[in-house]
Amino acid sequence: MATNDNLVTDDLTPTGERRRDFIFVATGAFAAAGAATVVWPLINQMSPSADVLALAQIDLDLSAIQPGQAVKVSWRGKPVFARNLTPAETAAAKAVPVASLRDPQTLEQRTKPGKENWLITLGVCTHLGCVPLGAGEGENKGAFGGYFCPCHGSQYDTAARIRQGPAPKNLEVPDYTFKSPTQVTIG
């Protein structure tokens, strides 16, 4: 068997694989790794760009907001609601048994210590991202006195917690810090 002799002398490694198999696998692996390094920038270009990320932090002056009022500001292209709760509204938020909530959180957990009247949340419904009503003058605040989403009827209470409707979560509280009693930095 001349062919077999040739294979033994020319083509087989000591453990019995053909040298050609090794070259096939090495070539394939190298090509796959090369393709992956090219594909990654093509995928990653869709992630937020540097200028989008640069606008990720804003300052907000709360001094003009009277109790019962709220302002809408834009942060990362999304609205943020900053609301000065009245004593009646904080009392209503505290009176709710936490265990009865879909997303159980107390008002204390959703505000900063000693600043319980300042309710700062994203104005983005956790259902499908609409802007709930209730921050503007004369807007529908829903059955629980907080916010009402006109898209699919989610109702939030005075701590912006989901009480009724399809939204799964409370309105998100962004990261923010008080720089002074009337100044916050969001982001």
Binding site: K78, R102, G123, L128, C130, V131, P150, C151, H152
Partner: protein
């Protein structure tokens, strides 16, 4: 690729012979759209809608390419550039209305085409791959139409984009990251608009590619027909040209007439007035609705309002899963419907269930266009449940228990019987192989 009695292409003259031996495009046309393609002779007008869908696609591509010469995909001027097309560009208003209503007409045609396939069992063997390719086209169409609607950058564009891209954030664990990646930011913005324009320009050509595969897959077994039985002899077929080229041309004239009526007299009939307000990320319109062709699926999305079981899976995730499954289920239809009889003309029970299903989809469509209030929520829950029951329970069950009506021996026999029953003169019957099997005693009339 064709029946043995198909006529063969004979190139006429030296030039055609020269072409035929080098790049035989005339032969391809003759064999697939010409006299060399035998087609069942009993196709009714519902079989026009495949060609009409192709025409609708071409209309969208042509008008879209010229609109792209005037449109600017930047959030600061996108809305204004659309108004520029409407007011300043020569004939721009007509081109944009053709493109916008053309999308609606495309969906009307494709929905009729799909329901035609459902009624006559065109998804059954040997046409499963043809059906699957059609569904791929349908999915691509939905993605293209959605992104095209966003380009206008009006209020409905923006909030439609917000709602639909948020569907991806329902995916557990990685949803938020995927959502940010798709948008190129934290909310729809310039990055989103730009990539949607890029993809909206690309996808129609992908659709065109899949349409070619769809037509190829059609030409392997040939068209199904209203009886659902296979072609058996030459007597069952006529050549595509001139018989169906003429019939399709007539259908096309009717279609273009209706299209012109809407383009020129009712161009905003199917649109939303809110989309003539520029996009405002800080103000949600009171009532967000997608375009009408998404309403049945939008109703299924909104039908889920409670976390279950035991609050474990959020209602939002259920809604998203249900909406996508509603379309994915259609991919399994060829294997859910096990009845060997294709056409509902011979399936007395399934025929009634088909029409109930049509009504169910129409109810879902109506619910999807209404605000998320009672009674529409409850109605869409019932209709969604029925939608899934139709495919997962009713269709497999009926396939087993139904006793179909006796099938004709051939297409030719069925056609001739209809003519004799309606009093057409017997002299119309041509002499052919199919006649030999024509039974003397009539079968029960439909």
């Amino acid at each position: 690729m064709s029946f043995p009695w198909a006529k063969h292409y004979e190139p006429q003259g030296a030039f055609m012979k020269y072409v035929d031996s080098r790049l035989p495009i005339p032969r391809l046309v003759y064999d697939s759209l010409g006299g060399g393609y035998p087609v069942p002779k009993n196709l009714n007008y519902f079989y026009n809608f495949g060609v009409l869908a192709g025409v609708a696609l071409v209309v969208q591509i042509i008008t879209g390419i010229v609109l792209g010469m005037h449109y600017a995909a930047n959030t600061t001027i996108a809305f204004d550039s659309v108004e520029h097309i409407m007011r300043d560009v020569n004939g721009g208003w007509m081109l944009r209305y053709m493109h916008a209503t053309g999308a609606s007409f495309f969906f009307v045609v494709v929905y009729i085409h799909i329901f035609r396939g459902l009624f006559y069992g065109s998804y059954k063997p040997p046409r499963e791959v043809l059906w699957l390719l059609g569904l791929v086209i349908f999915l691509l169409m939905m993605a293209t139409a959605f992104m095209g609607y966003v380009l206008v950058w009006g209020q409905m564009s923006f909030w439609g984009a917000t709602v639909i891209t948020n569907l991806f954030s329902a995916i557990p664990l990685v949803g938020e990251a995927i959502h940010t990646w798709l948008l190129g930011g934290f909310a729809p913005d310039n990055a989103t608009l730009n990539r949607f324009f890029s993809l909206h320009y690309l996808l129609p050509f992908i659709i065109l590619g899949v349409v070619i595969l769809h037509v190829w897959a059609l030409h392997i077994p040939g068209s199904n027909n209203p009886t659902g039985i296979d072609v058996k002899s030459k007597a069952d077929t006529v050549p595509f040209h001139p018989y169906y080229t003429a019939k399709d041309f007539f259908g096309l004239c009717v279609y273009l007439t209706l299209f012109s009526v809407v383009v020129f007299f009712l161009p905003n009939m199917l649109g939303e007035a809110d989309n003539y307000i520029p996009a405002n990320p800080l103000s949600t319109p009171a009532h967000i609705v997608p375009e009408w062709y998404f309403w049945p699926f939008y109703a299924i999305l909104r039908a889920f309002t409670v976390d279950f079981p035991f609050g474990l899976v959020p209602a939002k995730l259920w809604g998203v899963l249900a909406m996508f499954s509603a379309i994915l289920l259609l991919f399994f239809l060829p294997w859910l419907d096990t009845s060997p009889v294709r056409s509902n003309s011979y399936r007395p029970l399934n025929r009634q269930l088909f029409w109930i299903f049509v009504v169910d989809v129409i109810i879902l469509g109506i619910c999807g266009g209404k605000p998320p209030e009672e009674p529409w929520l409850r109605l869409s829950q019932i209709a969604s449940a029925y939608y899934f029951a139709h495919f997962l329970i009713i269709t497999p069950l009926v396939s087993r228990i139904e006793k179909p009506l006796p099938l004709p021996n051939s297409i030719s026999e069925a056609v001739l019987k209809r003519h004799t029953n309606t009093g057409a003169p017997a002299a119309l019957q041509p002499a052919g192989a199919g006649l030999a099997e024509f039974p003397a005693s009539g079968q029960p009339a439909e």
